[in-house]
Amino acid sequence: MTTTAPAEAAVAKRPSGAAGRSPRRRPGRIRRIGLPYLLLLPALVLELLVHLVPMVIGIAMSFKELTQFHIRDWGDAPWSGLDNYQVSVDFDAPVGEALLRSFFITVAFTLLSVGLCWLIGTAAALYLQDTFRGRGLLRALFLVPYALPVYAAVITWVFMFQHDNGLVNHVLHDQLGLTDKPSFWLIGDNSFVALLVVSVWKGWPFAFLIVMAGLQNIPKEQYEAAALDGAGMWQQIRRITLPSLRPVNQVLLLVLFLWTFNDFNTPYVLFGKSAPEAADLISVHIYQASFVTWNFGTGSAMSVLLLLFLLVVTGGYLLLTSRGRKPADV
């Protein structure tokens, strides 16, 4: 590089006559315009490989009869048309019924989890807005659940939720006496509550972080002006904070929704391969449909249906929120 640098400099300094420039101009320009695209090429190829190719293969798999008899050479597995989809959406038959049930559980779980994450995150961010001693420490402390590795965090919850010697029962039953007898958290109906608690515990720091960042952008003068006009804290939050946070919240809710709806790690670490019925989230349900029962075709079909649902929800949400934003921007 060092040897070529002076030569290049000389080329650049040469007075550019009109005659010398015109014949080389077009290819040079094409090159200049093309270069950014060319530099994007590796990223594009990687994106195709990492995201699109598996997706396309997954979609192809959903049209195949991919059971244990065919997985070894699944290129040769027989095409089954729409059979896998029919099985998945036949809600009168056991497989479809179970999928639908799992879907509704996941929707309920996601709505509750995202709502609570947002509520707690926003409340905490608002409280930590004013400076006071120990604020930095609290902020750091609040982010711990988000920073912990998922597996380590959830396995700790598994210990705490244990029936015989878990911390949760020790506090609720032994110390506070709130329940008649120790409850089961990892099996039976309570497992939904356990899952929700862990999910909110793990997710709210992210909401907290994003809302806190959003709050920095609201000019202090607005609050001061509002205070002069006699607005109380609640009114300030309603009239200034929340409208200003709107764009931040729109993205935050979407991201939280997608993460929570698709969450696999939390239920898997909490309950293992066969989740209790009350906490049968769709991601684990699909995992079980493919890996545990060795029917990858049906599993893929369920995944494609999930993908379509999330696409529709995300598309609809973006459409709605962007429409709402335009008049406000004017």
């Binding site: 008899f69 038959a93 056991p94 015989d164 089961f184 099996i187 039976g188 029962t293």
Partner: protein, 438 residues
């Protein structure tokens, strides 16, 4: 300009390289070859107290094999929670080990994938012949009428482990031989404030092993003779109910056991928190948890009445580990040599002693180490009163579906909800609907 060109070249190269490396993973799924005669990859199941403990047991033996044959064996010990998924992935991608351990109940399911080398007469001859192995172990190596998908490596059976001290305190002089006796003894132990029997209620595999045996004792099977699932027959329903009733009605299993899935029942027993445990070859595990051999006794698993034997007197599944060869190995001769080495009389004695299992090889089984104490009970059970789990292609799905149904029933029992013949039948009928349509 030169810089632009360099950048262009760089970008194109990186793209091409990514594409190439990504596509370069495939391999043939055809039959085996002998392209790499100097090395073997071996996936071992986790038999000892930990992965590290297993490596300590296996490494010296693999080194011995290398000295004899010049073939270097790369060892990976895989935890049970991952093993089946790893095997499935290997079968799908063709990227697997040369030789691997499989749970013997998976034999027929994995056989159906066609990924494993069939043990025909020629292959058996290469390791000294089929008749070196005991019949009960060979019965769990694949579907009937087909060449085995694997050869037996370690054999195990269930036994009743009991805490001598707790039994003595409760005035029990001999271990229970029937379920009624077990329940009566359990009550005596509970009267002294102890906890009677441990169970792994949330572990589908453990559940399935127990209800399979209970079904046998009720003269019932989970599959019809032609391999169709039949989970809702009266015998099967009664069997599942009898097992869950140990918690629901007889109350000799503490409700907390309903959520056990990580061998907590074994640690409970090792720590003296429960008096009895139904487990397969637990001695080494209990020792590693600090329970010395004189503290516990080993007896055959109870039956309904009489003594263990064939038919309705069955009191264990044929548990164990099989050794399989991936069909697309690139060291077929080496793999066969390795299987021969691992199933040789000498190695069988060393390995089965280390893992407190019983050798499925006749000559090794006759060794004194396996005919005394706890091992005698296990060996006797295997020889006289153990039955092979259903050798059908859907065995893996069956374990999951029925094992999970029993887990839910235990959850009901633990929560104090009634477990009735109807509720058991409903749970089993739901499990049956999850089985692949035929």
């Amino acid at each position: 300009m030169r810089r632009t060109r360099a950048a262009t070249a760089g970008a194109v190269t990186v793209s091409l390289l990514t594409a190439l490396t990504a596509c370069g993973g495939g391999s043939s799924t055809s039959g085996g070859s002998n392209d790499a005669p100097r090395t073997l990859t071996y996936w071992a199941s986790n038999q000892g107290a930990s992965i590290e403990a297993d490596k300590k047991v296996l490494r010296p033996e693999l080194d011995k094999f290398e000295k004899q044959t010049g073939i270097k064996v790369e060892l990976e010990v895989i935890p049970w929670s991952d093993l089946l998924n790893r095997i499935l992935t290997a079968a799908t991608s063709g990227q697997g080990p040369d030789v691997l351990n499989i749970g013997n109940t998976w034999s027929a399911s994995l056989q159906a994938t066609g990924a494993l080398l069939p043990w025909d007469a020629k292959n058996f001859d290469a390791i000294g012949g089929r008749d070196r192995f005991v019949d009960s172990a060979l019965g769990s190596t694949g579907a009937e009428g087909q060449d085995p998908a694997a050869v037996p490596l370690y054999s195990m059976s269930y036994a009743l482990y009991y805490n001598r001290e707790i039994f003595a305190d409760a005035g029990i002089t001999r271990p229970p031989a029937t379920w009624d006796e077990l329940i009566a003894d359990g009550r005596k132990i509970q009267a002294k404030g102890g906890s009677a029997l441990g169970a792994e209620g949330a572990n589908p595999s453990e559940n399935i092993h127990h209800v399979f045996v209970f079904a046998k004792q009720h003269g019932a099977d989970f599959f019809t003779a032609d391999g169709k699932p039949d989970f809702t027959g009266d015998g099967v329903v009664a069997a599942v109910k009898q097992y869950v009733d140990l918690m629901a009605k007889d109350k000799i299993i503490a409700p907390g056991n309903a959520e056990y899935a990580q061998n907590q029942s074994v640690s409970d027993f090792a720590k003296g928190r429960t008096a009895m445990l139904l487990w397969q070859n637990a001695a080494a595990n209990l020792r590693s948890q600090g329970m010395s051999e004189d503290k516990f006794g080993v007896a055959p698993v109870p039956v309904q009445s009489g003594t263990p034997g064939a038919g309705t007197q069955v009191n264990s599944m044929v548990a164990g580990i099989n050794l399989a060869v991936f069909k697309n190995t690139d060291n077929l001769d080496g793999a066969r040599k390795f299987v021969k080495f691992m199933t040789s009389d000498a190695e069988q004695k060393i390995l089965n002693t280390a893992y407190s299992s019983i050798p499925p090889v006749k000559a090794a089984q006759a060794d004194a180490a396996f005919t005394t104490g706890a091992n005698a009970v296990l060996k006797d059970t295997l020889a006289k009163s153990a039955a092979a789990m259903p050798q059908v292609a859907d065995e893996s799905q069956f374990e999951t579906a029925v094992g999970t149904a029993v887990k839910e029933l235990f959850a009901d029992a633990a929560a104090g909800r009634a477990v009735t013949t109807d509720s058991v039948k409903a749970a089993l009928s739901k499990a049956q609907q999850q089985m692949p349509a035929k």
